[in-house]
């Protein structure tokens, strides 16, 4: 390799983040459109949201693997061989683009640890974008009936269930309030129901009388 591996790694990290972000956003849209979690939809209709999700996944994959055709990197035409040691800097050719991304991590490719850091960041970014878009959707484009409307003793919905009828930013305080009010009992019940081998139960559970 005639290029500094850290330069290659920075290039790969940026490309991988975009790849992971687009595909995570697409996957999230498919999942939330099927589950009816309106507060995370990019559009106001489930069917369209699902197709947008599929398009985002395909776009993410296509951009990542075709990028070497128009972006300079360690894949110059004529230098892409199985061993990434002999690569030159430049644009790839159609004949070689399939192997362009196969760069060993010692030559600047991303190892599992770096991917394990970048993927969660991309997934969280996809969630934030969906929450913002979903908020606009719920506020301006969707006329939804609140699930608890008309009930005398409405059940308070929170978490993803609450996002079926609320925007993320309206749902967050409700979810936090529910969490604070329930966590004590939840923890006590959890300790009681836990397996007798549970280390947590052994440490924090009450001793039998």
């Amino acid at each position: 390799m005639n290029t500094d591996p850290s330069v290659v790694q920075a290039l790969f990290a940026g490309h991988y983040f975009l790849f992971a972000f687009l595909t995570a956003l697409g996957t999230l849209q498919i999942a939330v459109s099927n589950a009816g979690t309106r507060g995370l939809w990019l559009t106001s209709r489930a069917g369209i949201t699902r197709w947008v999700g599929i398009a985002l996944i395909l776009a993410g994959i296509a951009i990542f693997f075709l990028q070497p055709l128009w972006v300079d990197g360690p894949w110059a035409a004529g230098s892409v061989e199985a061993d990434s040691l002999t690569r030159e800097w430049g644009k790839s050719s159609w004949d070689e683009f399939a192997g362009a991304r196969n760069v060993n991590d010692i030559h600047g490719g991303l190892d599992g640890t770096k991917q394990a850091i970048l993927f969660p960041l991309a997934a969280i970014s996809a969630f934030i974008v969906s929450a913002i878009a979903g908020t606009l959707n719920v506020q301006f484009f969707t006329r939804t009936r609140r699930r608890d409307e008309g009930d005398q003793h409405p059940r308070i919905t929170d978490g993803l269930e609450g996002l079926e009828s609320r925007s993320y930013f309206l749902n967050l305080p409700v979810s936090m309030r529910q969490f604070r009010s329930e966590i004590g009992e939840y923890w006590r019940n959890g300790l009681e129901d836990a397996d007798r081998w549970s280390v947590v139960k052994a440490l924090f559970g009450r001793s039998p009388r």
Binding site: A31, A82, G112, Q115, S175, F179, E182, G190, A194, V200
Partner: protein, 195 residues
């Protein structure tokens, strides 16, 4: 055993170089980015997929087990690697192989990417048999592409698959030791409106 192993690699790799489109497809599938990302996306997508609160909690707990299994698989593969340094096929028989992938420097057995794929596929299978079946197919294709590319022996792939499945089941058992911390963690994320 190793003779059969070698013959299968040589036979499969012998098909490379004939159909460029198929070779290119295998190069993309074998890459370090596509299939590992698919496995991560499966876990990410399933986290949000349940239609009822009970179903969501079940999916989310299984996904946490899947993520833990993925991490533990890497540790187990590393432990096996430092115990037995099996050379890659191209190291010993490079002159007979048409290498389609960069030559990795770590030991061959067991196949780490396959272990990760099978751990995630087993998690998906416990939630939905059909979807899990597709994930097993994807993990197998990932292993096959690396075999075709000449960087693994068949027994490395089988070893990786066994490690992945076994570690997932071990992780579900391990969860019992950590309850109610695990369900409490899911409850916390629900408090942040993300579960």
């Amino acid at each position: 055993m190793s003779a059969i192993d070698l013959n299968i690699v040589l036979w499969l790799n012998g098909f490379s170089g004939n159909v460029k489109l198929f070779d290119d497809f295998m190069r993309v599938v074998a890459s370090d980015y596509l299939m590992p990302l698919v496995f991560s996306l499966v876990m990410f997508g399933l986290w949000f997929s349940g239609k009822t609160p009970r179903e969501r909690v079940r999916y989310q707990l299984t996904m946490l087990m899947g993520i833990s299994a993925l991490a533990i698989s890497n540790v187990v593969v590393w432990l096996i690697n430092i115990t037995w340094n099996r050379p890659r096929p191209f190291v010993e028989y490079g002159d007979q192989l048409n290498l389609l992938f960069y030559p990795p420097t770590d030991p061959s057995f067991p196949a780490n990417p396959v272990a990760v794929g099978f751990a995630v596929a087993t998690a998906a299978w416990t939630i939905n048999r059909t979807f899990g079946g597709w994930m097993f197919a994807a993990a197998t294709l990932f292993g096959f592409s690396r075999l075709y590319a000449g960087v693994f022996y068949p027994t490395d792939i089988i070893g990786g698959a066994v490690v992945g499945v076994a570690i997932f089941w071990f992780t579900t058992y391990l969860r019992r030791l950590l309850e109610p911390l695990v369900t409490g963690f899911v409850r916390l994320i629900r408090g942040l409106s993300a579960a």
